[in-house]
Every structure is written in structure tokens, then in C-alpha cells.
Symmetry: C3
Subunit: 344 residues, 3 copies
């Protein structure tokens, strides 16, 4: 399905802001990793640990840093695209082949899509088969609504934003420009709010909504609940991986990145520029300040007020050893007291 | 999208069973938190820690407990709705504005919905665009099937139950009355049953189903698998948050509440009135008795036979400290032995 | 909805490769667990711990091992189907009643399904209501596409494979023969690839795809992301439970089984024949060799190079005790040093 897209190295260098060393006319038809690149491929190297791979690569061109270029320039048979941040260069190159792959698209609005009469659909919007756009929804210019996706009553989808197939955006949400919401994601479901009542749990209707800034990415099967009275807020540039739970009234600051399977309980505030690993659990009603790194599988049971790296978690060991250590863990307080007595 | 709904304080007091102090004719158009409430808003206070906020609130009315009323009665410029459980009062009030928001609904059965001829649809049922109701399904009076939702062959949806957009209820399930199943939830997928066979895993077809009682709430992307031979059972009044996994043949007792990202492995029984935090993992084939509280991120690796509060988990610390402690954890058994020797 | 299917014990014995002891003409209409089986039921026993239950069962037939048969032969009033692996026999029997349940199916291609003109649909394919098959997709012989499911551009679904309702398979994926993809699963969403750029995160377009072998089972709401440059690979016979996250460029070896809520970060390789418990978190860029068992709730923070059983995790205890032990855990390194000094 991928027709060959072909570019000259000099064209690619311009796209990514690199300087060409060697033959700028070399034709590139594909992008590949350094181990698997063949003739016609461009690749990149972002760490000295791949230096051996670089010296034996079959790639026709490589994006690399100046220091690396100096090492291999005399022997290299491939064209070099030199820039300070080759990984960023690689990121920018991927778009060229991705755009090419999805060029032969379906008509703008599929005849099986269900678009309410009162919905407002801007120019250049594409709506897939069996997608549903409910009353008073507003789709910005160039928005793409995937097949089977649902856009709720009064929800706003910003310009250039893509809602992938079978994603669900419920009523009254606001999604900014240039966002991506992946398949299976659910934005704006009711927050988990109940009060103990006479006959069991009494539902607290969730009257807030979800507001999502620009350039936000939401992964597959990630859920972002609507706020109880105020809104749940995802700031510009936030990137969320798959299977993340964002509970009601959570706020996530600008450009924060969160890896898969992480859960954030209600009313917690996460700062800007944070990086949160996978499978982290974050309790509710706490604050995490800007520029905090939390490593995978941590249990964040308290606020974090200083930037830095934080962790928790019991690392892997053979089960036989774990069983012994885990038993001792139950008596750690007692052990500590015994040591205290021995010292005195 | 939210037109103003307006109520007199005396009307609101009647809805929630509170006594009015001050002007019962005060008009209320909205409900808000104590910090953000403005003129025309009603708010509530459920803890003394918000007493300062109460004294400076701009709200026109506040739901509060008698003791709190005594403290602020002499100076308060807002109407007071006095009751023993203000949080429950707040819960009951939210419904008034929620109902108002969804008043201008689409026609009962959308013309793009696919309803099998042998399905039985009671009065006042609403079925959204592109929803699918399979053969012999039964939709009780007042049931709401959201856009894109799937109701499987022979499945029963009780009276007044709402299935939100893009939720999936597979064949033969029984959902009680006044339930809510949120978007992306999957009820009745096959339990994870396989026997080791000659050529790999042999599937054990899952012949049971899922039965869900009345007033049950199932969160977005939560999955409840069908039983192997008998059924998976969710009792009346159970509330499940998002991203919960309920494996085959699990039983959950009445009014138990489970927070997001918790997983329950097969054939485990959870009692009534339990509260289970988020990101808890519960192994299979165990029992948890009634009225057990399990805090967030715990690993429930054994049965719990006494009511009470249970926990586990390594709390957060700076990564540098964690690395040192985690290494020592691997040798905790050895450390304990050394201390034992020192004592003797 | 389940019409009675009826089989003679001798027929059932042939299906599962067992020897009949007692009356081979006994009619069996249902399969049930040993505790609930009544007249007309077949059941099985795979462990001596159910011996009491066996002796009081009302079942008309039991699948059991030769040793067990010897114990109860003299008193048993039920027909015995004797074989070395009764659990496997049970697995094979379940198919008989499952097939029966879904016999009265809808027409092959529902009139509301949206199938692109350029899609290739083999014989005996069934496509449910409102399902979408995009351009150039290929559906192999006997494939079943559930209601509301999405099959992306150029994706291949193998022979005899079932895609359950509301599952999403994005463009360019390859699913083998005789697979099952459950509802809510998302195959081929973009991997979580971003490079830090001048204005925030720069998306790395994911140019690889997902390839899935034969006889693979993918659970409800499980996500398998497409690779960045190369593919994400799921080998033959792999079984994945619900809510599993498989990140980009992960490889999972033949017949490996993974329980629910487990997350596997990017570029990690898991060997063949592994068994990974529920709620396990596995970091990226590591390798797990063949035949590794990882118990539930473990944190796999390093490669595993030896077959065997591995664990981690803090087991459950009363919250009051946990609070004390958890505090001590923060000072475990210090405690270990103190003991070291005391020893010397």
C-alpha cells in the first residue's frame, strides 16, 4: 500500500535544517533504522553506541551530529545530513513518508456518516464511514473524523485535529487545534462521583467538561473524564500514551508527557514539562510541580514540590528469593526497632 | 449549550430535604464549588477546612450542616440549606442541572440505528445514530442506547438504563434497571480461558454470561468478561470506575465501589460494601469479605477474611534514594538473619 | 437463547480422545462445573482436591484421569470419560455448546455495513451491522467482522479469524488465520514516539505496522501499537487477555500467554512459551528469554536471561502495619549500613 515517495538528500536537508556533506543528489525512497537500512534509505544516529552499526550501514544517507560526522567523514560512502539534534531530524523526516501513505483518501464526508443538521462543519473536513456528529457540534477547518467515531452534542473539534476511528468524544468537550485522539479513547465520560446515600451510592452528576489545548495527543483507549463542577484541563502540547486514566478535575500542564497505563485520580494537578513513566499510579487531590520526572511503575502517594526524579517500586527478582524478602517486609518495622536496640 | 435552569432556594431545599435559613425566595441558576461560586450559584461545604472559603464565598446559597450554620449564621449574607449530610445534598442537586442540559434530545430511534426485527423494544426507549441492537435483545422501558453502541443477541437491558455511545454489550448478558454503562466499556467478552494442548493453547469457550444488578455504574473502557460455565455477577448498587478489568466468574457484592485501573482476576469473590482504591491488583480464586477497604495501588495476593483497611506498595521517594533502598530490598531476608544473629 | 444440544457420551469421548467407562449411550445436554452439574450434564475433575465434590456430584458424566477413575470406579453412577488431561478434554467440549449457541446467525454481509469497493472479501465472510471495511482491505475465507468493527485501509484479516463488535484494526495491519480480536481492542494505533523539539514535542510518524500470527487471541480493550520504522510482532499462538498495552516494536514469541492489565513498553522482546501474570509492568528496550514465568503485579525493570519464575511486589497487610513498614522502607539503606557496622 505504500507507493514509493522519492526525495533528494538536499531536499530532505532543507526540511530538517541540516547541512549536506557528500552527494546532495542522492535519491532517498525510504526511512529505516540503522541496522535494517538498505540502498535508497535514509537513517539516523543519535548515540555513540551505534557507531559500529554506522560504519557498516548500507544506508544511502545518515542524519548525524557534527562530532559524529568528524569521526566517519573520511571513510563514509553515504551522504551525511549534519545537525545538532539528529533525533529531531528523524522525527521531522517521518512525516514525509506518512503523508504519502495516506494520500489516496476517501471522499470528504462519507455517505454513511450521520451528521446532525445543526452541526457546523468547516471547510476541508473529512468524516469517515458510520461516524456520528451530534447536534450543535463544531468541526474546525481540516478536522478529520475517523470511521465510527462519535462527536457529542455541542463538542468543538479544533482545526487540523484528527479523531481516529471508533474514538468517542462526549457532549460539550473542547478539543484544540492540531490534536490527535486515537482509537478507543473516551473523552468526557462522567467522572466517578458518588455520595453515600440512604439506599446506596447517590450519583453526583458531572456538570463540568473537558478542555484540551492545541497539539495534544491522546493515546488509544485513554480516558479523560469530565469535571464535576469545574473542568478537567489538558494544556497545550501534552502527550498521553495508551490506557491512561485521567479522572475528573485533573489539570495537566503544558508539554507534559505521560507513558501508557498510568492512572491519575481526581482533582490532582500535574505541572508543565513533567515526564511520567508507564504504569504509574497517582493518588487524588495532590500537586506535582513543573519539571518532575517519575519513573515507571511508581506509586505517587503524596505531592511533589521540588523538580527532580522520583521513583518507587519493588524490582524483579527470582520468585524463591522474593517470597523470603516479602515475608521479611511485613516485619520491617520490628526489624528496625531491633537494630535500634542493638545500637544503644 | 447549557440554558439557564432557575430554582428558588425553597424548592431546592425540598428536593434535598434541607431546612431553609435566610431568604427562601433567592433564585439559583447554577451550582458551583465554594471557591468559584458567584451570584446566583448554590454551593456546599462538607468539611471545616473550607470554613475560610465559606466566609468569603460569593455564592447566593450554601448547603451545610447544622454545626456549621451555627458558626456563620450571624454574618452570612447567603441563604443556608441546612441538613446533616451536605455532600449528599450536593449530589442530589447536581441532577437538576444535568437533566436540564440534556433536555433537547434527538428523536427516540435514530433512522441510522440498526435494530433487529426480533428485538423487543419497550416504550420510551431512545436509540442513537448507528447503534446496533441484535436479534432477540430486549430493551426495557426508558432505556437509552447511545450512538454507535452495540447490544448483542438476546441481551437484556433493564428499565431506565443508559448505555453510552460506543459501549459494547455482547450476547446473552443481563443488565438491570437504572444502570449506566459508559463509553468504551465491554460487557460479556470471552473470559481468558485456555488449556495447554498439543499444538499450543486450546480455547475454553466461555458458556456463562454476565449478570448485572440494578443501579450499577460501569466506567469508560471497563471490561467485565462472561463466565466460563457459570456467570460473572455484579450485584445491585455496585459502582465501577474506568479501566477496570473484571475477569470471568468474579462476583462483586452489593454497593461495593471500585476506583479506576483496578484489575480482578478470575473466580475471585468480593463482598458487599467494600471500597477498593485505584490501580489495585487482585489475584484470582480468592475471597474478600464484606466491608473491606483497600487503599490505592495495593497488591491483593491473598484472601481477606476480616473487615478493615488493607494496603501495600512502595511509596514515592527521590530516585537516587530509591535505587539504594531497592538494592537492599533484594537482601532483606539476609539482613533479617544477620540481625537475628546479632541479637543472640 | 441456548437451544439444547444433545450428544451421547460415546460421541463426546471421540471428540476429546477419551475412553468410555460405564454407559456410552448416556445423553448429555450441557456442560457444568462439578458443584453445579445436574442430570444431563457432563463435568470434569482435574485435581484431587475436588474428590469429595466428585463423589457427591449429580453429573451424568465426568471427564477424569485414569488414577481418579480407579479410585471411584466401583461406586460411580455416572459415565466416565477417561483421559490423561481432563482439563484439555473440558476445553475441547466447550466448543460443542458454543458453536451451537451462535448457530442462528445474521446474513453474511449486513446491509448497513460499509465495505469499500476496492476491499477484497473472500467466501463465507460475515460482516455485521455498521461495520466498516476500508479500501484495499482483504478479508480471508470465513472471517467474521463484528458489528461496528473497523478494518483499516489495506489491512489483511486471515481465514477463519473473528473480529468482535466495535474492535478497531487500523490501516496496513496483518492478522493471521484463526485469530480472535475482542471488542474494544485497538490494533495498529500510532506508537508513542515524539522527539523534543523547539516548540514542544515533535511527532515521530509511525511507519511500521503490526503483524499478528495464526491462532492469536487479543482481549477486550487491549492495544497493540504499530512500529516506528519496523513492525510490532505477535507470533503464532500468543494469547493476550484484556487491557494489555503492547507498545511499538515489541516482539512476543510463540505461545506466550499474558494476563490482563499488563503493560509492555517499546522495543521490548518477549520470548516463546512465557507466562506473564496480570498487572505486570515491563520496561522498554529489554529482553525476556523463552519459558519465563512472571507472577502477577511484578515490575520487570531489567532483562531476564534465564528461564524460571520471577516476582516482585509488596504483598498486602493491614494499613496500620503498612504505614509503619513503608516509612522504614525509605530508610532501608541506612538500616543495612547500621547492621553492617554492628557486625564489624
Amino acid at each position: 500500500m505504500s507507493n514509493a515517495a522519492s526525495f533528494k538528500c538536499s531536499e530532505l536537508a532543507e526540511v530538517i535544517g541540516a547541512e549536506v556533506k557528500g552527494d546532495g543528489n542522492t535519491e532517498i525512497t525510504s526511512i529505516a533504522s540503522i541496522d535494517t537500512a538498505t540502498c535508497g534509505c535514509i537513517t539516523f544516529i543519535s548515540s555513540v553506541k551505534y557507531l559500529d552499526a554506522l560504519q557498516s550501514t548500507c544506508a544511502s544517507a545518515v542524519v548525524l551530529a557534527p562530532a559524529m560526522e568528524n569521526i566517519i567523514a573520511s571513510t563514509a560512502e553515504f551522504t551525511r545530513l549534519v545537525m545538532d539534534n539528529p533525533y529531531l531530524g528523524y522525527a521531522k523526516l517521518t512525516r514525509l513518508w506518512a503523508v504519502h501513505e495516506s494520500n489516496n483518501q476517501s471522499p470528504p464526508i462519507h455517505h454513511t456518516a450521520s451528521v446532525a443538521e445543526t452541526a457546523v462543519v468547516a471547510d476541508d473536513v473529512s468524516i469517515g464511514a458510520n461516524a456520528i456528529v451530534d447536534a450543535e457540534a463544531l468541526l474546525g477547518k481540516g478536522a478529520v473524523i475517523g470511521a465510527g467515531a462519535y462527536i457529542g452534542h455541542g463538542t468543538i473539534v479544533g482545526e487540523g485535529t484528527t479523531i481516529h476511528p471508533n474514538a468517542t468524544i462526549l457532549h460539550g468537550c473542547v478539543i484544540g487545534n492540531d490534536c490527535e485522539i486515537h482509537s478507543g479513547a473516551v473523552i468526557g465520560a462522567d467522572g466517578f462521583g458518588f455520595a453515600p446515600g440512604e439506599q446506596g451510592w447517590e450519583k453526583i452528576y458531572q456538570l463540568g467538561t473537558v478542555t484540551i489545548g492545541d497539539r495534544v495527543s491522546v493515546g488509544a483507549c485513554t480516558t479523560i473524564d469530565r469535571g464535576a463542577l469545574e473542568n478537567t484541563v489538558i494544556s497545550d502540547g501534552v502527550i498521553l500514551d495508551n490506557h491512561i486514566q485521567v479522572a475528573h478535575n485533573v489539570t495537566i500542564g503544558k508539554n507534559t508527557a505521560i507513558a501508557g497505563c498510568t492512572g491519575i485520580a481526581g482533582s490532582t494537578t500535574i505541572g508543565a514539562g513533567c515526564r511520567i513513566g508507564g504504569a504509574v499510579s497517582i493518588v487524588g487531590h495532590i500537586s506535582i510541580c513543573d519539571n518532575v520526572l517519575i519513573t515507571a511503575n511508581s506509586f505517587v502517594n503524596r505531592s511533589v514540590v521540588e523538580p527532580g526524579s522520583y521513583s518507587s517500586g519493588f524490582p524483579l527478582e527470582p520468585s524463591s528469593q522474593w517470597r523470603k524478602n516479602a515475608v521479611r517486609l511485613h516485619r520491617l518495622d520490628e526489624l528496625s526497632r531491633q537494630v535500634g536496640k542493638l545500637k544503644s
